[in-house]
């Protein structure tokens, strides 16, 4: 059984500066993994590099043992909420159906089947009533739920999520965590860029500590230690009480 994700020797550079340096990463199937690290650590870039959205200087990413380009149907992506213009003239249902565009094929328009699938995904994030809402009228939490529904409709095995908790209300955060844990229990693999160190042990079972280089990766209980956090954050650990971190 190959790993869900295998990254070897991944290096990304913007001009002369390495953003990611020689990353090796093996994520087994059925894991809910956080990527944590300081600002500019390359968390978003790592996800984009694994998805082939940025040019890599070296290295490769395998999804279930095959290059990503051949495994797209197994992968779903939730970009950062702020990466799009929410004043774009379109509806919630329309955005969710975009998750099906890859499968739909060229020129074909989404039909009844796609509508039904999108409504089902919206139901899972508690947004079915807002299907016809214009996206400019959504709150931050609702925007995030729409992006999650768009990924759910892809019906993937591996999910890459870029800060799904960024700027959402407490209710939405709980709802998203529950959803992520349900997906993991269904055998899916999830890789989530995360900012709040406090909640790492509560929400996730694996963690990748990243700061340009890979500093540690593995089960939270083993690698989410104060020593590793110090390595990652250069001595200053933000917002962490000793209690929430496993002593080495």
């Amino acid at each position: 059984m190959p790993n869900a994700i295998d990254v070897t020797d991944l290096t990304v550079a913007y001009r002369d500066t390495p953003v990611l340096w020689d990353i090796d990463l093996a994520v087994p199937e059925g894991v809910l993994m956080a990527i944590v690290g300081p600002n500019g650590a390359g968390k978003t870039t790592l996800i984009k590099a694994m998805l082939g959205l940025v040019d890599v200087a070296a290295g490769q990413t395998l999804i279930y043992g095959e290059p990503y380009a051949r495994q797209r149907s197994l992968v779903a992506y939730v970009p950062q909420r702020g990466s799009v213009d929410w004043d774009f003239p379109t509806s919630v249902l329309d955005v969710v159906m975009m998750g099906l565009y890859g499968r739909l094929g060229w020129v074909k328009r989404p039909g009844k089947k796609e509508r039904a699938a999108a409504l089902e995904a919206l139901d899972k994030v508690g947004m079915q009533d807002l299907a016809d809402r214009q996206i400019s009228q959504l709150s931050g939490g609702q925007q995030q739920r729409v992006f999650l529904a768009r990924a759910l409709v892809q019906d993937a095995q591996v999910y890459f999520m870029d800060e799904p908790f960024q700027g959402v209300d407490a209710t939405t955060e709980r709802a998203i965590v529950t959803l992520l844990q349900e997906l993991r229990q269904a055998g899916k693999t999830l890789v989530v860029v995360h900012h709040d160190l406090q909640t790492v042990p509560e929400y996730f079972d694996w963690v990748l500590l990243l700061n340009v280089r890979r500093l540690a990766v593995g089960p939270v209980a083993e690698v989410f230690t104060e020593e590793n956090l110090r390595l990652t954050y250069g001595g200053r650990i933000p917002f962490v009480q000793a209690a929430s971190v496993n002593e080495p």
Binding site: K48, L51, G52, L53, A69, R72, V75, Y77, P79, S83, V84, D85, F88, P89, T90, S91, D94, V95, M98, G99, Y101, G102, L104, W106, V107, R109, P110, Q134, S136, R150
Partner: protein
């Protein structure tokens, strides 16, 4: 006027041609506006000028198809130059646009002047490409414009969902495996077509306005992409035909600027009067909110005073008292007046006011809700 439009050959050609270019550039301009690429149209149209002059110099022909192909090639090369500069250097997008626009345009002007000096060039009439001249449109121009326009719109409809994804979230599209860069080039090519078919009528200097203005105006009226495109096409046709007819029937009125003024009026009207996004609607909403807040404030103050007279809740109070209870004493009288209109308060004697039974009940309900929220 209508008779002329139907039976005067020149006027009919002019109106149809200008409407065609308005429809095509209005529709495709929707994507330029939504993708924040409005200035790209300006760069393309200016970059097209040397193409027009070169096409004439190389072929000696003024056939519309020849000039349009020359314009399209040059416009396209200009666009590629912008993209290459942005990708290969540290020069930012707007600087690259400005550079390509002015260098190509300058080159085009040099060529244009030397063509005019040429003995056969005097009748060339290429200078119409600067500010546009609808009166110069003939049937063969119309055929070229309509054919290219239908082609461009057809491709845009064919790749409807792909272009929508490109405009909304191109990285997500790339993650799905769609060739977003090639779609980008295709859409930009359509934009080039939309621009070159309008060059002779509107001119390179102002062509980008007819690309951007109808779409910007249309955005005010709807939140649906398809509808926005339809309205933009309609606005484009309206501005194009209106401006062209006016210019063709009035002496010394340049076509391009007249069309652009028409489009500008549409933008101003849309900005002001669109039902949801319009400034007037926003102002009315704000005023309604202010009135509501003012009413609620005065109602609560009257209620507070009434509670001090448990045996006589309708005991009247002077306006002056109410004015001491708020940070906005100047709004008390207006608030009382609108409360009276709703039947929540009534004047008693001179400058004295009291709650009605309905007003008392309403105030009590508000007070209850406030307490619930505070809990």
């Amino acid at each position: 006027m209508l008779h002329d439009l139907l039976f005067d050959y020149t006027l009919r050609t002019v109106a149809l041609g200008a409407a065609t270019l308005g429809i095509v550039s209005g529709s495709l301009g929707t994507y330029a506006v939504l993708r924040g690429q409005s200035l790209l149209g300006d760069a393309i149209s200016h970059a097209a000028l040397p193409g027009v002059a070169l096409a004439f110099m190389l072929t000696g022909s003024k056939a519309p198809l020849v000039l349009v192909i020359g314009a399209a090639l040059a416009g396209w090369i200009g666009t590629l130059a912008v993209m290459t500069v942005v990708r290969r250097s540290r020069i930012p997008y707007d600087a690259a646009l400005g550079m390509v626009l002015s260098v190509f345009f300058g080159f085009g002007l040099v060529l244009l002047v030397s063509v005019q000096r040429h003995p056969t060039g005097n009748q060339a009439g290429l200078d119409t490409f600067l500010f546009g001249q609808a009166a110069a449109l003939v049937a063969s121009d119309l055929v070229v414009m309509a054919t290219l326009g239908v082609l461009a719109l057809g491709v845009a409809l064919l790749f409807w969902k792909e272009f929508k994804l490109l405009a909304f979230d191109d990285e997500f599209g790339a993650s799905l495996g769609l060739p977003m860069r090639r779609l980008d080039i295709l859409l930009t090519t359509l934009l080039v077509i939309a621009i070159v078919i309008g060059l002779q009528t509107v001119g390179v200097v102002l062509m980008s306005a007819i690309l951007v203005a109808p779409a910007a105006a249309a955005r005010q009226w709807t939140d649906r992409l398809g509808l926005m495109m339809g309205i933009a096409a309609f606005f484009g046709a309206l501005a194009g035909a209106g401006g062209a007819i006016l210019s063709a029937t009035t002496a010394r009125l340049p076509t391009g600027p007249t069309i652009v003024i028409f489009a500008g009026v549409l933008v101003v009207v849309s900005l002001l009067f669109a039902p949801q996004r319009g400034l007037v609607a926003a102002w009315l909403r704000a005023r309604r909110n202010r009135t509501n807040l003012r009413e609620i404030g005065v109602l609560e103050d009257l209620y507070t005073l009434a509670l001090q007279h448990p045996t006589d809740p309708r005991h009247p109070h002077p306006v002056a008292t109410l004015e001491t209870m708020t940070a906005h004493p100047e709004s008390v009288k207006a608030g009382l007046a609108s409360l009276a209109e709703r039947g929540f308060a009534e004047p008693i004697g001179e400058a004295q006011w009291s709650l009605t039974d309905a007003g008392f009940a309403a105030a009590a309900a508000i007070a209850r809700n406030t307490r619930l929220e505070e809990r």
